[in-house]
Symmetry: C2
Subunit: 408 residues, 2 copies
Amino acid sequence: MAYNKQMTALKNKRNVIDIIRLNSPINKAEIAKMAGLSIPSVMKITDELEEMKLICSLGRGESTGGKPPEMLTFVTNAFYLIGVDIGRSRVKVILMDMGAQIYERRYMTSTATENPESFLERVADLVEEIIANADIPKERLLGIGIGMPGILNPESGKIIFSPNFMWKDVELLPVFRKRFAAPVLIENANRAMALGEHWYGVSQNVNRVLTVNLGYGIGAAMLDGRKIDRGGSGCSGELGHMILKKDGNICSCGNRGCLESISSGYAIAKTAQQEARNKNAEKILKEAGGIPEDIEAKHVFLAAEAGDMTAQTIIQEAIEYLGIGIANCINLLDPDMVVLAGRIMLSSDYFWEELKAQIGNHQMKYSAMNIRIKKGILGEEATAIGAATLPLRRFINYGASYQALVDL
Amino acid sequence: MAYNKQMTALKNKRNVIDIIRLNSPINKAEIAKMAGLSIPSVMKITDELEEMKLICSLGRGESTGGKPPEMLTFVTNAFYLIGVDIGRSRVKVILMDMGAQIYERRYMTSTATENPESFLERVADLVEEIIANADIPKERLLGIGIGMPGILNPESGKIIFSPNFMWKDVELLPVFRKRFAAPVLIENANRAMALGEHWYGVSQNVNRVLTVNLGYGIGAAMLDGRKIDRGGSGCSGELGHMILKKDGNICSCGNRGCLESISSGYAIAKTAQQEARNKNAEKILKEAGGIPEDIEAKHVFLAAEAGDMTAQTIIQEAIEYLGIGIANCINLLDPDMVVLAGRIMLSSDYFWEELKAQIGNHQMKYSAMNIRIKKGILGEEATAIGAATLPLRRFINYGASYQALVDL
């Protein structure tokens, strides 16, 4: 029973924090109403939060008859966070506050052939550099969150398998825990991106959200309320390996005709490279400086926008299959919102408009009729921002308790 | 706070019921340990359950040193339930106890052209007949559960759209509530089947379960612990409308190349009928008595087992796409178990073995490595049994409270 009481207290505190965070400025009577708590219960919590400097008073608001109520606001820069996005071609490290305001950023180039240990030490160097530069009191840095592609165990901090890096059984956390006093948490990059958009971005306050990460690869993550759905063995969300072309090209996973082998940035580039070698892609080749192997997805987008038919055909096929794959997810999962994010979504407006149309074409007529299809709004740094929210989410989930972070 | 305390009490009671139900015979010390409760707390609950005759004592078990402990057991026939499966070709009504022991059954033929009201009155007649025949004290009939294909609202009891019956906006519950004093609940047929297998069948005690209903159509339902995942708008689980063949045949939903248009009982029959009209399916035609329009999926299975190549080719394609569709679900949802059930699964052992192999072929190598692929064990009556558990689940979820049923 003592445990149950503690859980209830925690839940109430977490709710109050979220209500203030998402509805600032707000008065105590409004909080009490939204949280289903008595005003004295709310006051006990808000006093504590004020003492922590997580919220503050903005003075008295407008009167609705009696004495004007005191308005409270969430202090977004009460704490700072570091987010790390370990991407296949680039690593991004950011320092931000709880409102996703970015104060510092450092990028470095990834080299897939480097051994994981020395590579991760280089990433840790960047984190160190940002901390040293930022001059933030140690106790105001809540923690470091890392997003990384592949199958990983967030509890143990182990990378089980990352096809993008060809890493197997890499212990990621020890490298960082050895060097930093602040808590360090990791999560799959697609899930980190989903958490970012849900915390600060386009899917704030939405219940069931499917976030699709369209980049070098294709991944997805499903959120149900505050809960991220990792699946029974941590492997959910492999939209990139949905097979849509029974006898299609071979995919990096070993199967044939996976969505990733048709519509990913990698696949778009590969197809264009092949066309270039067959002398069918002069305009794309020109964008890439004349060397077929240098063609990237962005060159195909540039050529398509300039009216090149080959590029347009490649992109059209990518969009059509993406539309089918995402519609298949909608028919299966029935989310309230689909968020489309990732590097490809930043490439072209045409892609976005056409993809939205293709999803609509392939979705069932009578299901998920109120679904909203949205573009992510956090841009290039969505995954880094989402990663940064990992220690923040934990801090708030445990009722703004440092203990939850120290116990990691 | 009072509300929270009540919820905790409810949760404890529900847990104790489930522990006894799934582990009978069991003593109070073991229950206390499994439920994380004190022995006096457990005794308070078990006394109440004994008074309701939901559990009873089997006398003293073996001693482990001191006085031999009293062994408790769940009384599966303390209450009775009625389950209704409204299928496209047949309606099944059963009377069973809480251990899925079936005491009475009544079947009737469905006619899709009949108007919903008179059709539902005929179903209610069957229910009435069973109740009259069974001679059960009114207070021991917990309720009536109905499983029905299509998109429906379990709260209001309205069928929003059932493509199999071509029903739109049909009020189902009033017909039954008018005629019966016992509580009536409805659920989508695929979800009812999943609940059945989870309550008494192959997926008991398994956490994340994807149940696939392979019959005239193809549907799926996802359970997460005790919770059924209906999706944001009640439309989740439309595996049958996963598009797997971009320019395939047109499906009943209006799209092209849906799994249901390739691998369902309906599709298998349609393809064979076409082959028969093209004079390519003599053996199948013979099984169906010589008339192409009379060919059903079962005739194709019979011909295939007798070595007919045309039948084997049709079934092989159905299995291959089913394997892809289910592997796609596994890669996306990462369940702990997939249960394959429905009329097609009962047709042939070859189908089951080959389907298991095809799922394995198309699943990602590094994900869901411990997944279990199982055949449902409740057979023809899985949906009716699952439907019958609707009032039972509600009764137990609310701590064996009649009030929860009366409040419907």
